[in-house]
C-alpha cells in the first residue's frame, strides 16, 4: 500500500470515528432521563417564572418536541456548523464560554507538557544508559511515585505544605492577575507541578524501555568502537530510533493524561479553564455546555491520534502500511 493511500484511509477513518461518536452522544442524550430540563425549569421557577412554560420553552429551544430523525439531523448540522447551543447558566453561547475558558487551560498545560517531555525523556535516556546506578534507581522510584500518586490528592498536599503551612504560594487560582506577571506565574507553579509529575513518570518509563532496546544494539556498539563520544551515541544512535515509537505513545497518552489530569487540576486549584467549566456545567445541569466541554477533548484525541499515525509513517520508513 502506498503512503498516500494509507494517509487518505486514516483521515477517512478519523471522520468516521467523529461521526460515530456524535451519533452515540445523540443516542445517549435521546434516551437519558435527566438532560437538564428539570434544572432549566427550576431556574425559571426561582426567577418567578412558570414551570410548565419553562419546560415547553426548553423543549422548544432544544427541539425535543420534534420527531427523532429531525432532531438527529438538526443535531448533526449544528455540530458540524459549530453551532453548539446556548449555556443557560452562563447566559452566553457555548462557543463563547469555550473561547473564554481555553486560554486558562493552556496557561498551565503548555508548560506542563513541555516540562514533562524534556524531563521525562532526559531522565529516561539517562537511566537507560546508566542502568543499575543510584541515579537509575532514583529515577525508577520517581516514576513509580509519579504514576501512583493520585493527582487530586497530590495537589491538595502541595497546597497544604506550600500554601497553608509555608505560605509561599497562593492556594488557589485568581483571575485578573495578568498573564505574563510574576503573580500569575506563582499561582501556576503548583498546577504545573501536579500535572507534569504524572506525565514525567510516564514519559520516563517509556523512553527508558525504548532506549534500552538500542543500548546494546550492534549499531550502537559499532558507533562506540569507531570512537563516537557518549553524547553522539546517545543523541544520534539511541535517541533517533527510539523517537519513533515514543512519538506514538507521546501524542495519545499525553493527551489522555493531560486532559483527565487537567480536569482534576482545574477543580483542585479553581482555574477557570475547560475542566472547571465542564465540572460546573455538570453540577449545574447545563447540558449544552456539558456536551461541548466533554466532546472537545474527545475530538482533540481523535485529531491527536490521526497526527500521530501520520507522523509515524513519515518518521519511520520501515513501516508496513498493511499493519495496524
Amino acid at each position: 500500500m502506498s503512503m498516500h493511500w494509507y494517509v487518505a484511509r486514516r483521515v477517512a477513518w478519523a471522520v468516521v470515528a467523529t461521526y460515530l461518536i456524535l451519533t452515540i452522544t445523540f443516542g445517549l442524550l435521546a434516551v437519558a432521563p435527566g438532560d437538564g430540563q428539570t434544572a432549566f425549569a427550576f431556574e425559571a421557577a426561582t426567577e418567578g417564572g412558570d414551570v410548565d412554560e419553562a419546560r415547553e420553552t426548553f423543549d422548544e429551544i432544544t427541539g425535543r418536541d420534534e420527531p427523532l430523525l429531525t432532531r438527529y439531523t438538526n443535531y448533526m448540522v449544528n455540530m458540524a456548523t459549530l453551532n453548539w447551543g446556548w449555556s443557560f447558566t452562563r447566559n452566553q453561547s457555548v462557543m463563547d464560554a469555550l473561547a473564554a475558558a481555553y486560554p486558562y487551560s493552556l496557561m498551565y498545560a503548555v508548560p506542563a507538557t513541555f516540562i514533562s517531555i524534556v524531563f521525562g525523556y532526559a531522565i529516561g535516556l539517562y537511566s537507560a544508559t546508566h542502568q543499575y546506578t543510584l541515579t537509575d534507581y532514583l529515577g525508577t522510584f520517581t516514576a513509580f511515585f509519579g504514576i501512583s500518586v493520585p493527582n487530586f490528592w497530590f495537589g491538595i498536599m502541595l497546597i497544604l505544605v506550600f500554601a497553608v503551612d509555608l505560605g509561599w504560594l497562593p492556594s488557589y487560582y485568581q483571575t485578573g492577575r495578568g498573564v505574563w506577571t510574576l503573580a500569575n506565574a506563582k499561582q501556576l507553579v503548583l498546577p504545573v507541578v501536579v500535572l507534569s509529575t504524572g506525565a514525567i513518570a510516564g514519559n520516563m518509563r517509556y523512553s527508558r524501555a525504548e532506549a534500552l532496546e538500542y543500548v546494546h544494539a550492534d549499531f550502537v556498539k559499532t558507533a562506540r568502537a569507531k570512537g563516537a563520544d557518549d553524547w553522539r551515541v546517545l543523541v544520534r544512535h539511541i535517541f533517533r530510533p527510539a523517537l519513533v515509537p515514543l512519538m506514538t505513545i507521546l501524542v495519545a497518552d499525553i493527551l489522555g493524561l493531560l486532559f483527565a489530569g487537567a480536569y482534576i487540576t482545574e477543580v483542585v486549584f479553581q482555574i477557570p479553564g475547560l475542566g472547571l467549566l465542564s465540572y460546573k456545567a455538570i453540577i449545574q445541569q447545563d447540558t449544552a455546555l456539558v456536551m461541548a466541554t466533554t466532546l472537545v477533548p474527545v475530538f482533540i484525541a481523535i485529531v491527536g491520534n490521526l497526527v500521530q499515525d501520520i507522523a509515524y509513517t513519515v518518521l519511520d520508513p520501515r513501516i508496513d502500511y498493511g499493519d495496524r
Binding site: 470515528a17 461518536i21 435527566g34 513509580f144 501512583s148 491538595i156 497544604l160 455538570i282
Partner: protein
Amino acid sequence: MAPDTQSDTGATERFEDVEWDELGGLGFPRRTQALVVATVAYAAAVAYDLFVTDDAVLSGTNWLFVLTLLVGAFFVAWPLAENRRLTAYYWRRFKRNRAAVVSAAYLVVVFVVGTLGPLVLTEPELNILAAYQPPVYLSVDSAVPTTCVGQTADGLCHGTWQYPLGTTSDGKGIAKLVVFGMRVSMQVGLVTMLIVVSIGTAVGTSAAYFSGLVDELLMRYVDIQQTFPTFFLFLIVTYLFKPSLFLLITIFGFLGWGGIARLVRSEALQRREESYIRAAENAGASDGWIIRRHLMPNVSNTVITAATLLIPSFILFEATFAFLGLTDPATPSWGQVIASGRGDLDGAWWIATIPGVFLFFTVLAFNFVGDALRDALDPRSEGDA
C-alpha cells in the same frame, strides 16, 4: 508422567488393563466438579436475590465482587495450589523484588480488612459532637473541634483511641471510613479487572485465531472503542444517568478492554504459529478447544501482568470521580473523604491527608506487584528490566 514406573512393572500392561478408577476415574477432575457446584450455587443465589426476595441480599456490585472472588479462587488460587513446583518457582522469582513482597503483604491486609471489616463494623455515623477530632497521639488547637472527645491540655485537644485516625467535619471516624473505602477500592479494582480481562482475552484470542473477517470486525470495533476516552464518556453518562459504583464498574469494564484485546491478539498471533497449535489442529481439536486449552493458557502470563497494572488505574478513576462528587454519595470512598477535607486544610489537615495516604500506597503497591509479576512470569524478560 509414568513411563518410568510402567517400564518397571514390565511393558506387558495393555491399555484396556489400566485400572482407570484407581487413577482417579474417567470423571471430571475435582476442580471442575467444584467449579460446577460453585457456579450453580452462585446462579441460584443471584436468581433468589433477583426474583424471590424483594429486599436485596447483596447489591449488584457485591454480587459481582463475589463472582470475582470465585473466579480468582478457581482460576488462580486452585491451579497454583495444585502445581506446587511451578508456584514455588514463581515465588522464588517474585521474591527477588523485595518492594513487591512488602507491597503484596500490604495488599493482602487491605483486601482482608476491606472485605471482612465492613461485615463486622457498623457504618460510620454522623456525630456533630465528635467533629474534627485529631488522630491518636496527635493534638490540635482546641479551637478547631467544637468539643474535644479526648483530653484537653494547654489549649490543645488530644486524639483518643476511640477515633484512632481522627474524625471528619461531621464526626465520622476516619479509621472506619478508611476500612469502608478499602472495600470500594478493592471492588472497583478487582471486578473491573475481571470484566476487562475476560472480554479482552476472549476477543483478542478469537481475533488472532480466526483472523480474516472476524479479526477485521473485532479490531475495528476496538479501534472505535479506544477512540472515545473512557474518562469523558463516564462524565457524560454520570451526568445523564444516576451515578453509582455499579455504573462505574460497568462502563469501565465493558468499554475498557480494548488495550487488553490488542495485547492478547498480538501475543496470540505469535503463539498461533507455534507447532503445538498445528499439532492440535492436525489431531482434530476443535477451535474452541484449541483456544481454551492451548492459546489462552499461553497468553495468560501477559494477561495477568497487564491486569495487575490495570487495577490501580481503575482504583484511581473511582477515587477521582468520588472526589469530584460524581459517584453515589452514600458509598463511603477514599476520594469522597479527601474531598470533604479539602476545605479544612487550615485546621484539620488529617481529613484529606490520611485517606490519600492509603490510596497512594494501594496504587503504588499494585504497580510494584505488577512490575514484579512481569519479571517473574515472563520467561523472555530474563535479565533486562
